[in-house]
């Protein structure tokens, strides 16, 4: 098992180095940090000075080496937009995004497993068809549109219909002014963004869990367990679900990794200052320093969770770690 983990980790190192170099080059080529100076009073002189200072006249590989050296020491540069430290901005943003991911994943996992198992055990029942239809709709819903519709019908709408002084659910940020900590206010802010996130995730995961559960339930050992008299419920939970969860957990790990950079829409609609919002603001402002660090941090998270998925899979299935 240890050799398997070591092999997976070692394999990730060249991947992340190559990926980070490509992302670095991609953002550097896309954004010229001196563009703003071009029309300034000093013009060409300022551009030349800034080019020299940032080392933009050197080959990309050299620039990347420099950048990487500083990056691993925690010096991610200064934002061109806010003149704040990039590492501080990203750390702050991660704090918000992690909260969304945590609640979104927690709720999605419970709902998806329940729906998936129910649909598989009661295949072709009315509820199975209902869940199928809903998941088709969930997969086809544009995430940004669902978010806006949710605000319209679950926040602003009820406020108008029932003449409330404030909407039942909030849709700006994660806390009201002057509020902190985990309290009612927090959950009233969290409800809509987490719902938007959950609808998308559950649609995919529940279908996956259904297929996985159906696959397991048709296995011989399930029939054996039933034949020797194990109660149906126990077979479903102990023999069926436990095995059917393995593929889902792998998919979950991959999806969690993707969410670190995948909440751009949700965070923009609900004005949550997380990673997605940071990306949006930085891209609009052409803030190359933050964009480089952002894309590479997000790639690191994706890679980390891919690695976890691999290790987990290898842990549960010896065939994979030995191949």
């Amino acid at each position: 098992m240890l050799t398997y983990i070591a092999r997976r980790v070692l394999y990730s190192i060249p991947v992340i180095l190559l990926a980070s170099f490509l992302l670095f080059a991609f953002v550097r080529v896309t954004f010229d940090p001196t563009a703003k100076l071009r029309n300034s009073r000093e013009g060409a002189a300022a551009v030349a000075r800034e080019t020299k200072r940032l080392g933009l006249d050197r080959p990309l590989v050299e620039q990347y080496g420099d950048w990487l050296g500083k990056f691993v020491q925690g010096d991610w540069g200064e934002s061109e937009r806010t003149h704040d430290s990039t590492s501080a901005m990203i750390t702050r943003a991660l704090g918000y995004t992690v909260q969304l991911i945590f609640w979104g994943i927690l709720i999605s996992a419970f709902v998806a497993i329940f729906v998936g198992v129910y649909s598989a055990v009661r295949q072709y029942s009315a509820l199975d068809y209902t869940f199928t239809g809903l998941s088709f709709i969930g997969l086809a819903l544009p995430p940004f549109w669902f978010g806006l519709i949710a605000i319209e019908f679950l926040a602003v709408g009820p406020k108008q219909w029932f003449h409330l002084s404030e909407p039942p659910l909030f849709f700006v940020g994660l806390h009201g002014t002057g509020e902190t900590g985990i309290n009612v206010d927090y959950f009233r802010h969290l409800a809509l963004p987490v719902l938007t996130l959950t609808v998308q995730i559950v649609a995919g995961w529940s279908r996956f869990q259904r297929a996985s559960m159906l696959d397991v339930m048709s296995a011989d050992y399930i029939r054996t367990a039933r034949a020797k008299g194990v109660p149906r419920k126990r077979v479903i939970i102990r023999h069926g679900l436990r095995n059917a969860l393995i593929p889902l957990i792998t998919v979950m790990a991959l999806d969690i990794g993707a969410l670190f950079g995948g909440l751009i829409i949700t965070e923009k609609i609900f004005s949550i200052p997380g990673m997605g919002r940071l990306f949006f603001d930085s891209l609009v402002a052409g803030d190359a320093t933050v964009l480089v660090a952002w894309t590479i941090v997000v790639a690191l998270f994706i890679l980390l969770f891919n690695l976890l998925a691999d290790i987990f899979y290898g842990f549960l299935d010896p065939r994979i770690r030995l191949s």
Partner: protein
């Protein structure tokens, strides 16, 4: 399954290129149960592949309805100059924004433009981009995937490592950065989206080819002296048509959602050109106002299109692969 805002997670997401092929039971989530009757198919003799395919497809009611819906959408959008009640840019400033009425079924926007007509014209761009991205990425992905799978060794390794890289970069973010750099016209959007999407197809095709090329019929063809080109074109391609077509269909849906997401954020189709995504971008500010109706219809258009395309993909999968519908 693209909860993530990545290319709508409909495309199998597997970084190790493993699950995609083996997944016909698990990952290959067939969404509608088939209705049986394969036994009858198996007994009946002298039925062509095409006829078997057609019969299985005809049994998938949702897919049949979806074809009708898609044909309707196409005719209405691309025939907008004939069917649209108003020209797309005809303003009626005196009228301003009014809700749905007999004269304006979907209402009018702040400039008094007819929302229904605008949606029909905007659909041209959304559908065009969706289909072009799917065709282009499927073509490139199939060719490269087939080459990697067939040649193997270094070529295969190089291509798979390349697609690994694509899998760990944040999709929407990279697309947004690229569009900011390269511009926002239709062709650029198509090329940029296809540059990301081909990797999914390539993985699927590579996996299929890898397993097919070990089969006896390929060995038999080789033994009787068939060239590599002949084996690929005559023996391998016909066997991967199913997964490729299904993936291409799902890619249309994913591309439409991705384009609308990017346009909504302001990085995709730019005004005055209109797609469903940037119509919603305009309408974002109307949440909770008396103009909220402007929010409903473009979103419903996307939902309806993507839903129909996904059902069609599901029907095609069941028809190509009878086993998948019965899991």
């Amino acid at each position: 399954m693209s909860p993530r805002g990545g290319p709508a997670g409909i495309v199998p997401n597997d970084p190790r290129g493993r699950v995609v092929v083996e997944s016909s039971s698990v990952g290959n989530v067939s969404l509608l149960p088939g209705s049986g009757g394969e036994v009858a198919d198996a007994i009946a003799v002298h039925r062509s592949q095409w006829e078997l395919f057609r019969r299985r497809f005809m049994r998938h009611k949702a897919a049949l309805v979806s074809i009708g819906v898609l044909v309707f959408l196409f005719v209405v959008c691309f025939g907008a100059s004939v069917f649209a009640p108003y020209p797309p840019d005809a303003q009626d400033l005196l009228l301003g924004p009014v809700g749905p009425s007999a004269a304006h079924w979907f209402g009018t926007d702040e400039l008094g433009r007819d929302e229904l007509s605008r949606i029909m014209y905007a659909g041209q761009i959304s559908l065009k981009i969706g289909i072009a991205v799917a065709l282009l990425s499927t073509f490139v992905g199939t060719v490269l995937g087939a080459i990697a799978g067939f040649i193997g060794n270094a070529t295969d390794q190089a291509l798979m490592r390349l697609t690994d890289l694509f899998l760990i970069v944040p999709g929407i973010a990279i697309l947004a950065i690229a569009l900011k750099k390269f511009g926002h016209d239709d062709v650029t959007i198509i090329l940029v989206l296809a540059a990301l999407f081909w990797t999914y197809v390539a993985r699927v095709v590579r996996g299929q080819i890898l397993s097919l090329k070990e089969k006896e019929f390929v060995e038999a063809a080789r033994a009787s002296g068939a060239s590599n080109t002949r084996i690929i074109v005559k023996h391998l391609f016909p066997n991967i048509v199913g997964p490729v077509v299904v993936n291409a269909t799902l890619a249309v849906a994913a591309a439409i959602i991705t384009e609308s997401t990017l346009s909504f954020l302001g990085f995709g189709v730019q005004p005055p050109a209109t797609s469903w995504g940037n119509m919603l971008s305009d309408a974002e500010g109307y949440v909770g106002t008396d103009r909220a109706y402007l929010l409903y219809f473009p979103g419903l258009a996307i939902l309806l299109t993507v839903l129909a395309v996904n059902f069609l993909g599901d029907g095609l999968r069941d028809a190509f692969d009878p086993q998948s519908g019965h899991s």
